[in-house]
Symmetry: C2
Amino acid sequence: MNEIGLSRRATVHDVARAAGVSLATVDRVLNGRPGVRAATAEKVEAAIAAIGFQRDLSASLLARARDLKLTFIIPDGSNEFMARLAEAVRRRASQALSERMHIQTRRIKPLDGDALAHSLDGLDPRDCDCAIIVASQAPSVVAAVDAASRRGVVVMTLVSDLPDSQRRHFIGIDNVAAGRTAGALLGRFLPQGGKVAVIAGSLHLRDHADRLAGFAAVLEAEFAGVAIIGPIEGHDERSQTATLVGDLLARHPDLAGVYNLGAGNAGLVAALQASGRAGAIRVIAHELTEPTRRGLQSGAIDVVLDQNPDGEIRAALAAARSLALGGNGSAVIDPIEIGIFLRDNLR
Amino acid sequence: MNEIGLSRRATVHDVARAAGVSLATVDRVLNGRPGVRAATAEKVEAAIAAIGFQRDLSASLLARARDLKLTFIIPDGSNEFMARLAEAVRRRASQALSERMHIQTRRIKPLDGDALAHSLDGLDPRDCDCAIIVASQAPSVVAAVDAASRRGVVVMTLVSDLPDSQRRHFIGIDNVAAGRTAGALLGRFLPQGGKVAVIAGSLHLRDHADRLAGFAAVLEAEFAGVAIIGPIEGHDERSQTATLVGDLLARHPDLAGVYNLGAGNAGLVAALQASGRAGAIRVIAHELTEPTRRGLQSGAIDVVLDQNPDGEIRAALAAARSLALGGNGSAVIDPIEIGIFLRDNLR
DNA sequence: TAGGTCATGAGGCACGTACCTCAATCCAAA
DNA sequence: TTTGGATTGAGGTACGTGCCTCATGACCTA
């Protein structure tokens, strides 16, 4: 186990000695610099594996003497969850700075692929090593992500993924599983069956589409007595959602449940309360924000499925660090868990 | 905002200049070394605040040139969750090592305060900066924790807390909230009311006692139709739990629900299946392990509330680092969330 | 006033890696 | 064999902090 007498951590010097090469060559291999024959590089790799060398992150960051520049691009507007996300970024900024990561945040027009693409196009690799975006599904966005990657900006997706692009990593919950969870809970809440309405923000958002797919699959497979109405799109917007839900309630006096897989929950709660049927209808929503919190407390919402923004930002920063440093895409990032909140376990 | 011309991070040198003292004095203040007048120390603190200095963690760790020594003390035995916890520690070890944290793990006899106390007493501050323990509630443990603290070993609790001791930090979920969640779910699952049995491992464990309190409170306040049977103690042990649940099922042919807030889930599932009533009784359990996973898949268990061991270990390591370094107890640690799993969102 | 203690300053080395320059060596093609 | 580019070695400095020694001055007490 211990190739070096005392119990000391292996350093680049040890690697050089073990491989029978100079420090400079080890350095070239470790940092992917040119001018090393394949055979020599292999010798070094073998030595690294043999003595179990691990680059000292502290020393590495220190020696680089340069901050990692990160840019978060987050939708603006009335979406409370996005505000929460931006707030989480702000909270982490100072801690991140002490770990040599410099964070910049941009807010852009929501649900607008072109705005996102344009913002990405404006990223200069000299002042942005890594961009973290909440992706919308659009060809122009895919093109902009790929272009940024070619320019040398690592792109990661957050909350909503963009699988067919050059994005290096996705940070967020498993949205299909989230939808399944909602379906499994709602099914158990309605042992007699009934009509359940589904509300989305926009099915062009990958996360919304995934949730819908999971939800519908579970109800179909396990709860045949439950019928789905919709999905209807409220564009993550309070007043639009309120109007739509109002119509819905008027048209279906026997509605037994609602699953809002997008935002706009303030409108949902308002419409439920206006109809006088809040509490009589089982409601599941997403993201613990002020409106959903109030909805839980008043009894208008039964369950909120939550993705922890702080956890996501932490994971994003960790991923950015290892992507920008290690270079090898095999960073160990633990998945984001789906949280659950009822009135009785609100924080 | 930026007191130093260029956008460069503030260093100890900047602090010294701003405070009008020497580097040595800044160093003495920063690291709590003696030989500084109170007035001078205040000047330095003021300068730190004014220019927003933050110690560079990388450089600090590097300069110490010494690993942080951590010792995890985790119950042994058949408790699957504890095995999962130990496994999570093992998985993190190598990453932690590259961040200069050396991890050691001890497994001790479960549910035995004296074994834990004895293990703590054996900790030498020279080879353990910080001990992370799964606490059982016993006077001998409190005494051992306090003694270790006096010797200079920082103690943190994991999963089960020990509030009246010198432990510096607790890492784990809010177990009262977890119990409330179980109660709120089970109540909604049983709109007609009915009898619900509660099984615990040992009420001497703080986490078990907290869960019970939360569970009972919600049922009493919101679901008057649901009656609690128990709690009965299965000592987190498979066969004991199976026997107890077998008796329970025989004595209560009309049992509508079970909440197992401890371990021993393999026994619970076995007894349910032996009785032929699995699937007809709503069951909520804790911790996603092999037995609970199988229970979910077979339909014997409806919901598993989970605390993510990987997340807990990550949080523990972060806390240990900032405690051992910063010294000030005000480390920003984000709370561990309660995860929820049904058959349909198993990972 | 002499001797002592305490507070502070000045300076330097170390930690492990990144990145630079310059010289030396190797190898293949001419 | 010569030439020239590719490869490798040797050695240095820098990053920001921790920790050490030694010198200096201030202040107190006998």
